[in-house]
Symmetry: C2
Subunit: 421 residues, 2 copies
Amino acid sequence: MKKNSNVVIIGAGFGGIELAKALRNKMINVLLVDKHNYHNFQPLMYQVATGGLEPGSIAYPVRRIFRNNKNITFRMAEVLEVMPKEKILKTSIGTIAYDYLVIATGSQNNYFNFETKKDQLLTLKSIPEALNLRSFIFQNLEKALANVNDEPLEEIMNIAIVGGGPAGIELAGALAEMKRYVLPKDFPDLDLSMMSINLYEAAPALLSSMSEEASEKSLEYLHQLGINVFLNSRVQDYDGSLITLADKSNFRTDTVIWTAGVKGAPIAGIPEEAIVGGNRIAVNEYNQAAGTKNIYAIGDVASHITPESPDGLPMLAPVAQQHGKALAKNILRLEAGKQMKAFTYLDKGVMATIGRRKAVVDLKIWKFQGTFAWLVWMFVHIMSLVGFRNKVVAFVDWMVNYFTYDRPLGLIIRPYKRKES
Amino acid sequence: MKKNSNVVIIGAGFGGIELAKALRNKMINVLLVDKHNYHNFQPLMYQVATGGLEPGSIAYPVRRIFRNNKNITFRMAEVLEVMPKEKILKTSIGTIAYDYLVIATGSQNNYFNFETKKDQLLTLKSIPEALNLRSFIFQNLEKALANVNDEPLEEIMNIAIVGGGPAGIELAGALAEMKRYVLPKDFPDLDLSMMSINLYEAAPALLSSMSEEASEKSLEYLHQLGINVFLNSRVQDYDGSLITLADKSNFRTDTVIWTAGVKGAPIAGIPEEAIVGGNRIAVNEYNQAAGTKNIYAIGDVASHITPESPDGLPMLAPVAQQHGKALAKNILRLEAGKQMKAFTYLDKGVMATIGRRKAVVDLKIWKFQGTFAWLVWMFVHIMSLVGFRNKVVAFVDWMVNYFTYDRPLGLIIRPYKRKES
């Protein structure tokens, strides 16, 4: 009898989880490896950062997803390097042999020209980062009230967001609503007119990956909420208290939130020629990594070029999920001695929310904005959370938010101190 | 017109919050100072540590409690020292003048003979400590599976709890239920028979502050849950992997959770003669700190000796709350030129929970245990949480726990590394 093949999946994000799910109870051994013991719902990270949701609502233990699936094993470990010739993976918990290796490691922050300044930026790419951002914002409000060192109040209170993609505008909207509805109640002795929230986007439009309607409407929403949006504005420097733009204009602030871009997070050992633009791994229509055998990449880390997407498919959860499902089928086909089938991406649309009753939705044949878009956004996001408990708790938090105009949470559990340059 | 007096309260625990609440909208200025921006519900800390509740459910921002109360101000600050003669308080955000100073700083871990080993112990006294404990336990389970260094499995998996008071037994019960109901599902490839949970109590009985019935029943419950309880067992040493008792018996474990006692957490500047047994501040029947004028102490930090409590009133939330309410009235009496009234403690009873349908309740005239006690415990604790949102979320989490036999949360958000000796 043929021994079951070993599929090793690196990363428990949207792609890795879908792939493993589609291999449940098949005649194949799946080992899922992640440095965290939970899957997190990245699109709602900004809610954790702004105190709208608790981390526990957007995260779910991986082991719990695959209970009762004897062929799926999870290990919490850091991946060090793949050795393609030997078909082994070196990790913090030892060496793992694979027949199929799937790299589903997602993306990481891309700091571009700010690489050397990154310790002074706040980011949103993981739960600890989001919690640090939450602590930092609330610490600064407390600091503004105490103001022991006679720092200029604007510097403490101002906020700069770099990047006008979904993460940037969703964060800007949430902060603007916090400033308008929550802070006057919680900080009555603080002069909130000293707080400006600026959003800088290097491109000529917000949400450049979405439709023109979405892009224009989101700009209008942000203006309504009092955000100062700067388009065609590339940030050039930051010294810890002053951010400077390419046109030499500047803005004094302690708080620079970097959402300007991400790049792939491939692992060591992948042949150099496979790493292409955006630090992603070039894959073919079967998700095979260029120049390798038995190594596959899915989701954000995969650069999957199609006629419609000459720069590779977008870094979106649905791409990763569809990759995962398709690759599972292809692996099972190979195991059955059949030919693989080429992947085709089904674009289900994209959406972003800016604030209460303010969202934009682009479907293939219908683009809409406003209250209905916002309801659709909420419904889709609640239903996407893993686990009944998380759906209920997120629903409670959003209802409290909706009816009281309040953010339920503003706790500084672990104070965050930004590293000094 | 007489200027309003300034009441400065240090600590937003049960005592400080009740005092400030009772002074809402009075002709008096209240400044509440705490190093955290939230009030936390200490009796449920073990639930955070064992993944039963999220930190956000047992914590509530102080500012939000006192919205709409113009005479109450909150400042997040560390208190450095009181200077009684000058009637000022030195803090991390500057000097604060007071007319009345109320010390409501509560208690801190008391390590007794383990003071020099404290970095190797896990504790439960704050939310970060509880989160570290949660991370440590789940990290160790992952480590047991990987077991890279060929450490003895028992050492990684065993758990020692030192102290048989409410915190110790509630924690032991929660861990035992986790071991029985959750871990076999989440860690099917781990041999759970290698995991022992030992509880050490130096006294001859558990819950020594409660009735004999409660003490005996809690012992019976812990036995039912598979906890090894050692009474009359004083721990003597711990070297990071082996805990040794006074009788030279020992137990190999990585995880020693210290719930063996607390002591007062007074502030610097209080006259030395006022600090009495248990590091508490001696107070009279008006909560006045011995040897001071205009300085009061309430709650855990106050040593309030009564005929029934020759060692001072117990360190319990209801004492702190009643102190706070009574002192508020006395301050208002003094302001009105009247005499203060002596405090009398109304003992409303004590309770502890060991597991599902296992709790013990001591009321003055009625002591009961079992399912009804457990329902009473749940009701009282849910109703005591601050805020509608927290009540609902805790209820959801406990219902999920009850019906699925599951702990909803087991996330290692920030891995915890114990300091090495």
